[in-house]
Symmetry: C2
Subunit: 223 residues, 2 copies
DNA sequence: TTGCACTAATTAACCAGTTAGTTAGATTAT
DNA sequence: ATAATCTAACTAACTGGTTAATTAGTGCAA
């Protein structure tokens, strides 16, 4: 019976295994035994590091969303002009999700769990991650509109649409694969999606442009 | 204790209660006791009408998606020109989801469950409902492009984006409510969303309008 | 020799599914 | 008509497999 495997490693292994299990099965469908097995750790160790299943789930959510916040804030804190910044934000958000494909599922699942009383985590998540990002992107849109660069879109709805296009693509990929005849998650298809999202958003947001030509957008669309 | 409550009523009550329970909790989180209680029926009756929980879940999905297919095909079968038809399709789809708000959640949940082997239903659902709709909308987009009415978008990605904007809004409403300061599900907000989606899609899809020279696309934006 | 990291074994609760019926109305026999 | 029989519709109570969580420890390092 071992003892020392470096505590940080064990904790991290649990978190990672839990993230996978929760994203695939939701909190109700997730099995603590499966998490322990995947983390190559005794099940009781989950309860040594985390109070209970719900707390472990909360820790998984925090680690997921804090990574995302860091990613997009690097862009939001930069000082690009509105056009370039909104595209950079979409790109950063897309890239984060694309390289952490368990997150869109975690996010969707938590969103649907948020009926009142249900989720103990949602208030914290909203306050810590979603609100700050939402506020900044909202300001960015208003700035672009004020400067005559963007169409007069409704910020709340526009943000919702951007998030939808990115998150939904990955969370619905397993079904999409059966509807269309290709795997939507190959690097090439992902790159294509990225271009399509960028194209869709810029076409819907940017005004024909009074000033110079927008260099950022080229086409990204085929057929 | 009575026996006769009209079998059709009981069956329908079970289906309705199950739809609600499954949409709120997923199949793993749903409780058969809760379904029976909500349907005001003994739990054993669920097993009298349906083989097991999984089969009941399948019946719920079928009743949900067949309604949707009927709705949108009424539009897709009509003979409107491409612009009007795609907008009518989006409207019909939106209205169906808006007035059956458990469906977006059922849909999201089933989409995420579709990892290989997992869902017994997904193949049937795709073949019966998703494929036929996808095919028709794809043809519609290609027709619009060929006639120089639409920008040369990628059909698969464009459809994915349309569905995303509609489904995601409703499934993420509980969280959104905490991020913004209003309830996204009041009739007024829903109408607003409908307009925003229509605007977003038409801005991203329609060419500036003149039916000539579709090759020199530069903006594809109106208003 | 204390405290940290960890585990095997166990427990209590939960929950899908079953069983062994009951009830009410329709059908047939008288 | 009316009693006897049948069957669809329905239920109370139970079962056993599953699963989150606990307990009572062991090994090891400082």
């Amino acid at each position: 019976m071992g003892s020392r495997g470096q505590p940080e490693e064990s904790r991290a292994a649990i978190l990672q295994a839990a993230a996978k299990e929760f994203s695939e099965n939701g909190i109700a469908g997730a099995r603590t035994d499966a998490i322990a097995r995947q983390a190559r750790v005794n099940k009781a160790l989950l309860y040594y590091y985390f109070k209970d299943k719900e707390t472990l789930y909360g820790a998984v959510l925090d680690s997921a969303f804090s990574g995302m916040k860091t990613s997009v804030f690097q862009v939001l804190d930069s000082d690009l002009p509105p056009r370039e910044k909104i595209m950079a934000y979409v790109g950063a958000y897309f890239d984060f999700i694309a390289s952490n494909q368990i997150y869109p599922k975690l996010m969707q699942r938590e969103m649907m769990r948020a009926r009142e009383g249900d989720s103990l985590h949602i208030d914290r998540l909203v306050k810590t991650y979603f609100q700050p990002i939402y506020r900044r992107v909202g300001e960015l849109l208003h700035k672009g509109i004020a400067e005559g660069e963007f169409r007069k879109v409704d910020a709340a709805h526009f943000i919702s649409s951007m998030v939808a296009m990115i998150v939904f693509y990955f969370s619905s990929a397993p079904v999409m694969q059966r509807v269309v005849r290709f795997n939507p998650l190959t690097p090439q298809r992902i790159a294509e999606r990225r271009a399509a999202v960028m194209d869709f958003i810029s076409a819907a947001l940017f005004l024909p442009c009074s000033s110079a030509a927008p260099s950022s957008r080229k086409s990204g669309v085929r057929q």
